[in-house]
């Protein structure tokens, strides 16, 4: 499963970059994130509950932020393991300044699901993956906006 998208962030590129990588923000924006603990430089362990409607699985996950090129580029790698199987996703984020207080965010992702969910979920997995990723960036955008407004 793969896809891409873009959105406009209502903040300058440096500020956007900083907020996007703020663990507190990540915790808020990752769907079903119950707990996010820093375990190493740019590496977190998280308890995620991912899914749609009543169909949810709990995954013990690691989230790593890689290829940091402040303030333009980074890579987010998520690996999760749980009773329903495994989830692996890599997202690449590129930020382009769009004036003083606006930034264009482009993202692309690749996600793979293994085990039980892969065996039975084919009909909807692609769509749901897209939904989960879109949800993440949408929340990031909102969170950034909220922080900018309150700042």
């Amino acid at each position: 499963m793969e896809g891409k998208g873009n959105m406009v962030l209502e903040a300058g590129v440096n500020r956007a970059y900083e907020v996007l990588l703020d663990p507190a923000v990540l915790e808020k924006c990752i769907m079903g994130c119950k707990k996010l603990v820093l375990v190493d430089d740019n590496k977190y362990e998280a308890e995620l509950s991912i899914g749609i409607a009543a169909i949810k699985g709990n995954y013990s996950s690691t989230i790593e932020i890689l290829d940091l090129e402040e303030p333009r580029h980074y890579k987010l790698a998520v690996k999760g393991e749980g009773a329903p199987g495994t989830v692996e996703a890599v997202g690449i984020v590129d930020l382009t300044p769009d004036g003083e207080s606006s930034t264009l965010l482009n993202y692309s992702y690749e996600a793979e699901v293994g085990g039980k969910v892969a065996m039975v979920g084919q009909r909807m997995l692609g769509g749901v993956a897209k939904l989960v990723i879109q949800d993440f960036f949408k929340k990031l955008g909102k969170e950034l906006k909220r922080m900018e407004q309150s700042a």
Partner: protein
Amino acid sequence: MKPAKFDYYRPKDLPEALSLLESSGFDGKIIAGGQSLVPIMNMRLATPECLIDINGLQDLNFIESDDRVLKIGTMTRQNTVETSQLIKDQCGLVTEAVAHIGHLQTRNRGTIGGSIVHADPSAELPLVMMALNGTLHISSEDETRSVKAEDFFLTFLTTDMMPNEMLTEVHLPIWKGRVGSSFQEVARRHGDFALVAAACQLELDAHDRISDIRLALGGVEAIPLLISDAKELLAGERLTDAALQKVADVVAGSVEPESDLHASAAYRTQLAKVLTTRVVHQAYERAKGSAVCP
């Protein structure tokens, strides 16, 4: 393949069901026919802590009509819907669509409400609700409200309903006049979820010109997709091949299906086009052949 532990309640009436739902918060789940819920529970993809079995709520098993609106209770079995002469006479699109749901055995158990609230993007009943813009009647302990289908389906398996709410009945408008409808789908096998499904209902004036049309597609998006341009493109005219082609092209341009194991995005788009032309054409022919209602 055994479900995780859950509490089980079998309320006797709607107030009791709603009260149980309210008290179980986010952990409650209603079970009616169980044709989708039980498999996902057995696979432990869903692990609700509390099941509220509404099979005892026989007040919600009904089919009524006041000649303007057809009302179906949420607990009405799909097979009852399929074999109802009243529904066939007043909303034949439903009858035609329900025959495509699974198998006789699953339709004997599955309910109309269960299928709608499960909101599977390829399922027949959500598609028909969207095509006819039916109204969903929803209750919680505090209030009763109604939502149009166009506002009800949000995304995959997700509707406008809150965890403390329950669908009680669905209302479908009864079209009068020279009405024709058609439901078609392409599935890998009889009874499978559709790769793509299409539903159309239209009305003709005395000169065979389309006066109203509703067209919707299933299996191409996260929710049933209403083709709202259809009316603009076709209303006021007799159906021609060129007009049909135009609608098909609009459909092809507006769907963004996902690829999966059984159908690529390109193939789904093709099916959306083909089924669009087929259902519109068939509905049109049926309307032409229908007697003008008194």
